[in-house]
Structures are given as structure tokens and as C-alpha cells.
């Protein structure tokens, strides 16, 4: 690696202040720090620092997302071939999935990356790693067939309005990936809801088997049938739901793949188990409540099926746990998570306008997270004030 290091050292002066490529210095910096952990040493305070840094943090989330991505690639192809009546093969599925999903990533990273680098340059910051994860997430929570220009606009909206205007990574109020999804959902509802968008190829409608239905299980439930069937009319088992052999956004269908990610996040401590657990409990609580007061078949849907459907598991593991937009106090995390789970199922079942409640529940709680923190911190402050009053009295 000496050669690489020497080359970098040789070109580096061009990107430093006074160099002719100074306007690209944060790009260079991002590349350099990607390749090499810098030689910066501690100047003030503690002489040694933990090996943990933002890059390490983000790469762990990245790795945790891989199982969901791999499954999503396969599942996209699988459903496509089912819909056109061909026998799905493993490699056929994977190839088709890759063909669909690689362009999504190229668009998201190109658009997001350009904005991120431009802002880093203007602010004279180093390029933040936040985009690395946001960009990984966005394609996983959209339909595989989403037109690329829509995705580009949504990504730009999410990074600019969702993040940069608040000051960049670490300062944002709303989860950027979900902001992108919410933007698509409200701006282009035809491409984000309905019975056709979730299976690749159905929007164009070519070669689709007669009578094949692309309805997701959630839309079937909203329509009043909880004896779920797949596109060909065969019934869907609990194990199909768990493993993810159902239509949906690219990365959200396989609870099994998501659980592997959850395991990685919890084991490394990168994702908060407190949020995950309390979201789960919140969802179960609401599911049970609805069961008790059930007046229709959707409300009577067993609570555990809710956990396997739609984006609940994905949102729980990867979205609710975003440390920037979640509650920041440890006690607050329990409240925050619980309310997400609780509201997600509530919106899902009782609001006919939105078949999926997870996205809205998380965004809503993102907004309320500072309030939760405020209350938790206030109790700590009050304790201190009480102590003082006791002494003065």
C-alpha cells in the first residue's frame, strides 16, 4: 500500500489551501480517509481515543443491511417471473433483481453524493458518512420498478430538505431515508401504492399472466380479507411471511433477513436494542388491543402476523433505531420505540388511506423525539432542584 500512500501524498498539496484543486478538497479528503485512517494525533484532552469512529459505525449498519438487500434482489426476480408465468430459477431471479436494483443504487448514490460533497465543500467539513447508510436504505424501501427520475428527485429532496438545511448529518430531525419515501408516497402515489407497483413488471403490464394479482398482504387485509393469497391465488402461510416470499418494497419482505441484521446491530451495540424491543412491545400491545375490540377481520388479525407484514420489521430494526432522529436519552428510547410500534399498527388497521403505518409512525415520532427527551431530562433537572430546595429549607 506504500505506492498508493506515496501517490496520495504527492497529489495532496494540489487539494490543500492554495492548490489548484482546492475546490475539490472535501472530495479528496473523503477519498483519502476512505482509503487510509488519517495520521492525525490527539492534541488536547485524552491522549488516546477509541478505535470506533463514524466510518466504523456506518459500515456495521451497511453490513447489517446486506442480508435484506440480497434477499430483496432475489425476491424481486422471483415475483417477476411468477407474474409472467415463467418458472423462477435462482440465478434468473438474481440476475433480474440485479438489473432492477443496481440502477436504483447508482441514482441514489450519485444524486445524494453530489449534494453531500457540495455541502461539505461549502461548509468546509469533511464529507459525512451518513449518506452511506441513507443511500443504502432508500432503494430498500421503494418498489423495484420506481422510475429513476422520481427516485432522483426524492433523494435530492430527502438530502436537501430532510438533512442539509438543518445542518447536515447529525442535525436532522427526520430520518432522511423515510423522508425520501414519504416524498414519493405523497408526490407520486400511483407509483407507491396500489396492487401493481410491488411486483416488478406489472406496471408496464407486459406478459403478465391473466388474473395474476399483485396485491400486498396489507392491501388484502385493508380490503377485508385476512386469508392471505399470493398472486396466483394460493394461500400464503406464516412461514412465507417470515421468510419473505411475499410482494413488497425491495428490502422489507424477509423478516428472517432483517433479523440477521438486527442481530448484528444489537451484538455490536450500533443499533439500540432498547428501541427495537420497545417498538416490538408497542406493536404487540396495539395488536392485542385491536384483537380484543375486534369488529372486523383486519382488527382480528392475530397480533404476531402484524409483525411479519409490511415494513414493520424493517422499520423497527433499521429506521426507528437511527440515533440522530430517535430519542437521545436511554429512558426516552423506551417511550419513543413503544409509541412507534403502537402507532404503526394503529394507523395500519384503522386508517384506510394508508395501507402501511410504519413510515408515518416513525416520522411522527421523529418529530416528537425531542419532546420525549425534554421530559426525561427535565426529570433529571427537577431532581437537582429538589435537592437544592431541601438544603435551603
Amino acid at each position: 500500500m506504500n505506492f498508493l500512500r506515496k501517490t496520495l501524498d504527492k497529489v495532496k498539496p494540489n487539494f490543500e489551501k492554495g492548490g489548484k484543486f482546492y475546490f475539490l478538497h472535501s472530495t479528496f479528503d473523503a477519498m483519502e480517509t476512505f482509503l487510509f485512517v488519517p495520521n492525525k494525533v490527539t492534541r488536547t484532552g485524552a491522549h488516546i481515543r477509541d478505535f470506533m469512529d463514524m466510518k466504523r459505525n456506518m459500515i456495521i449498519v451497511f453490513i447489517a443491511l446486506l442480508p435484506a438487500l440480497f434477499f430483496g434482489i432475489w425476491n424481486t426476480g422471483n415475483h417477476h417471473f411468477l407474474a409472467i408465468g415463467e418458472e423462477p430459477t435462482f440465478w434468473g431471479n438474481v440476475l433480474y433483481g440485479l438489473k432492477k436494483i443496481i440502477p436504483l443504487y447508482i441514482v441514489v448514490y450519485a444524486v445524494g453524493g453530489a449534494i453531500e460533497v457540495a455541502f461539505a465543500q461549502i461548509r468546509k467539513h469533511e464529507v459525512n458518512e451518513g449518506l452511506f447508510v441513507t443511500g443504502m436504505l432508500i432503494p430498500l424501501i421503494v418498489p423495484a420498478d420506481i422510475p429513476l427520475w422520481m427516485l432522483a428527485i426524492a433523494t435530492a429532496f430527502a438530502i436537501l430538505i430532510g438533512k442539509e438545511i438543518f445542518g447536515g448529518t447529525g442535525m436532522n430531525i427526520l430520518n432522511p431515508a423515510l423522508t425520501a419515501r414519504a416524498f414519493l408516497f405523497f408526490a407520486y402515489p400511483a407509483w407507491m401504492s396500489g396492487d401493481k407497483v410491488w411486483i416488478s413488471g406489472m406496471m408496464s403490464g407486459e406478459n403478465i399472466v391473466d388474473g395474476f394479482s399483485g396485491a400486498t398482504l396489507l392491501s388484502q387485509a385493508a380490503a377485508g380479507t385476512t386469508n392471505f393469497v399470493n398472486g396466483l391465488g394460493q394461500s400464503v402461510t406464516l412461514s412465507d411471511m417470515f421468510w419473505g416470499f411475499i410482494p413488497g418494497s425491495v428490502g422489507e419482505t424477509s423478516v428472517a433477513a432483517i433479523l440477521i441484521g438486527a442481530f448484528i446491530l444489537i451484538l455490536t451495540g450500533v443499533g439500540s436494542w432498547k428501541i427495537m424491543l420497545s417498538t416490538l412491545i408497542g406493536g404487540i400491545t396495539m395488536g392485542l388491543l385491536l384483537n380484543i375490540f375486534a369488529v372486523n377481520s383486519y382488527m382480528a388479525l392475530p397480533w404476531y402476523e402484524h409483525l411479519l407484514l409490511g415494513g414493520f420489521a424493517f422499520g423497527l430494526v433499521f429506521m426507528a433505531t437511527d440515533p440522530v432522529t430517535a430519542a437521545q436519552t436511554e429512558k426516552g428510547k423506551y417511550i419513543y420505540g413503544f409509541l412507534i410500534g403502537f402507532l404503526a399498527i394503529l394507523i395500519r388497521v384503522l386508517n384506510p388511506a394508508y395501507p402501511e403505518g410504519m413510515m408515518l409512525a416513525i416520522l411522527l415520532m421523529n418529530v416528537f423525539a425531542p419532546l420525549i427527551d425534554y421530559m426525561v431530562i427535565q426529570s433529571n433537572i427537577k431532581k437537582r432542584i429538589k435537592r437544592l430546595q431541601k438544603i435551603n429549607s
Binding site: 500500500m1 498508493l4 500512500r5 480517509t33 482509503l35 487510509f36 485512517v37 488519517p38 495520521n39 492525525k40 494525533v41 490527539t42 488536547t44 484532552g45 485524552a46 491522549h47 488516546i48 481515543r49 477509541d50 478505535f51 470506533m52 469512529d53 463514524m54 466510518k55 466504523r56 459505525n57 459500515i59 456495521i60 469533511e126 459525512n128 458518512e129 451518513g130 445542518g167 447536515g168 448529518t169 447529525g170 442535525m171 451484538l267 455490536t268 451495540g269 450500533v270 439500540s272 440515533p323 440522530v324 430517535a326 437521545q328 436519552t329 436511554e330 428510547k333 427527551d373 431530562i377 433529571n380 433537572i381 431532581k383 437537582r384 432542584i385 435537592r387 437544592l388 438544603i391
Partner: protein, 449 residues
Amino acid sequence: MNNIIRIRKGLDIKLAGKPEKNIIGEVSFESVSIRPADFPGLIPKLIKKEDDEVKSGEVVFIDKYRPEIVFTSPVSGKILSVIRGEKRKILEIIIQKNNLNDFVQFSLIADEQSSEKIKEVFVNSGIWPLFVQRPYGIIPDPKDTPRDIFISFFDSAPLAADYDFILKDKIDEINLALSKIKKLTNGNVFLCFHKNTVLANDIIEVENIKKYYFDGPHPSGLSGVHINKIKPINKGEIIWTLKATDLAIIGNLIKTGRYYPERIIAFAGSEVKNPGYYKTIAGANLSEIIKTNVKTQNARIISGNVLTGTNITERPFLGFFDNLVCAIPEGNKYEFLGWVKPGINKFSASATFLSKLFPKKEYEIDTNLHGGKRAYVVTGQYEKVCPIDIYPQILIKAILAEDIDKMEQLGIYEVIEEDLALCEYVCTSKIEVQSILRRGLDLVRKEFA
């Protein structure tokens, strides 16, 4: 044993090069230094100038705004040089030792003497700056009477000197010092020992002297933690703290009437050939032991521990409060794709490196930042290593916003830099927690001055 307090939050950083329990020898030195930066908030005013002769115990400089607080020479000799930095700020006053052994004889303190008289001797002899006042971590005002005095009898920091070992011959001095110090407060003198102490039984426990025992990871040995767990400090209250090693110096003053800041220091760290203990005095030039006992040139020498100490590589003088000197490798090198490696040799508080699988292993950790500075992203990290009942990350944000009301409410009075040093160590975003906290403390102090 009653009064055992178990600390759960915290972190023991497993550094290689722990000091062996034997005294290697005495440091031979030609010069000593007094470093005003050892005392936060101090603006020094020189009394002696370059080439002036000084006796041991004679005033070298004073606190500009509280002239009664004096700093005395630990040796007899002459002022060799005054080293200044930016804006002519005094960084170091170096005194060349001679062999005359001239010293100032301070009056002895009789048993029945009042706290005023005791303070007078403490102040005039120059041992007064050993006391640290909470809040702010500054030298206390001799006119104050603190609510309580807290004395830590162990150091939990990485590589720290073992107080049981270095104080075993100082029991008489410690007891003598305690018999006077207990008069300085109307409250209690809290002695805070480690649970496995061997010293505690020989230390007096009379009248207002109370013993407590602590167990758990660093920062369980810090007075900030002891105060918070035993009797938290409130706005408007004043607490003084000391380390048990300082008691030995105070006891010696009471016994002999001489200022002689003897220190037994641990010399430790992965760059030390033969980690162990040395006898010396506060401020001594350590060039000799660094030359003979450090492995490489590219080492950072730290007076104090690796979390809060001072970089003394350039001018190797022992700090006023320190009984530990560390040598660790400088991290001024690049590492190819360092952030994706599995990290078997990378110690981390997080569980994102394979090193987590080897809890007993000791590590060579260098001074590299291991990453770039970012905005806060990760949460809950600070709380895991801070046993004091505050929200460190929220406090740091309040300081960055210069919101003095919020700082007060969030408990800035309960902490000084050392209490949050571990937060700085673990920080994923590489935030300079200690210097930010100092800025906050200075701000609050100025507001209420």
C-alpha cells in the same frame, strides 16, 4: 466493611505496560519546573525573575487575582528560565537545582491550633494548591469553609499507580495531615478507598472523618464520582478534594515544617522498557529515566494518566499533582482501510471490533485520533461510561450553545474535566469533551464572579 458503593458505569482501558510493584530507584535531576497550566483558571504573576536565587519553599510566583495564593520552589537553586507561549503566556518556570539545600522553615502546627492558623501555614508553604475546589476544579479560596472534604485513596485510571504500594510508608504523615485537615470543614472529611484496600485499617477514623469504599471500573476513583454517590454538590456549595498522595506531602510539612513535595511515581505504558516506580519530587526533570527506560524515539511522554495528563515530550517535567508518567506510541501514521479491519488488536468500548472477544488482553494504543471529527450522531455512549447522574452529551451541547442556565440545570457544578475524560475517549464523533467542558466551567465562573 460498611459503606461499600459499587460503580457499574465506566470503562477500564486495558493498556499494556502496567507498572511492576518495585521501586527502580530515585530520579536524578538537575532542574525542576512549575507549570501554571496545572492549575485551571490561574493567571500567574512572577515574584522571582530569571537568574534569581531561590530557597526551597520560597515564593516563585503568585496568583495575580488572589495574591495570597503562592507557589513555592520545591528545591533550592536559581531561576533558569521562564518559558512563554502565545501572548507571552507563562508556560513553565524552570529552576536549576543547587546543592546548598537552603530551605524556608515554616512554623509547626500545634494540636490545639485553629483552622485559620492551619490554613495560614498551608498557604504560605505552597501546599495550598494541592487542594482542588468543586465546582470549577480550581485552587480554593482560603477564606472559604467547604461543606465537606473528599479524599480519594485510590486511582482507577489506566496504568495508575497503586496507592497501597506507594503510601505504605506514609501512614504517619497521612494520619497527621488528616488530624489537621478535619478542622478545615464544619462538615465531614470523606475518605474514599478501593474495596480491596490494605491501607484503610491503619488510617484514623475519628470525629468527622468518614470512610467509604468503592468498587468498579474507572472513573470509580475520581472525587467527582465519590461526591455524586455520597453527597452530591449543589449550586452555591463548595467542596474541596485531595488525593491521598497529597496527604503525605501535607503530613511531611506538618511534621518537619518544610515544603518537600516528594512523589513516588509509576512509570508505565507500552513504550516503557521496564515499567515500575521511581522516587522523585513534583516538577522534577525526568530526562534521565526517559533516556534510559523508553524504547523508541516516537513515543509520547505524558505526565499523569493517558486520559487527562499533560504531554511532556518536549519539556519532560513531572506535573504538580501527578504520580504517574506514561509513555505510549505516537500515532502519526496512516492505516490502510483501518476502519473496515476486523480489529483483533483494536481495543474499543464498543463491540464493533473482534477485540471484544478477548476481554483479558492488554493493548498497545497509540495517540492517533482513529477517525475524523463529526457532529453528534451516536447517543447513549457517554452515559455508559459516566456514573455521575448527569446527561453528559446534553451538557456538552448546552456548553456549545453557551446556555448558562441550561448548564447549571444539567449539573455542570458536579463535574470537572477528569470526570468526563472517558466520554471523550469513547466518542465516535471525536468531540473534544474536556476542553469544551473547561470552556463551560470558565463561562459559568465568570458569570457569577
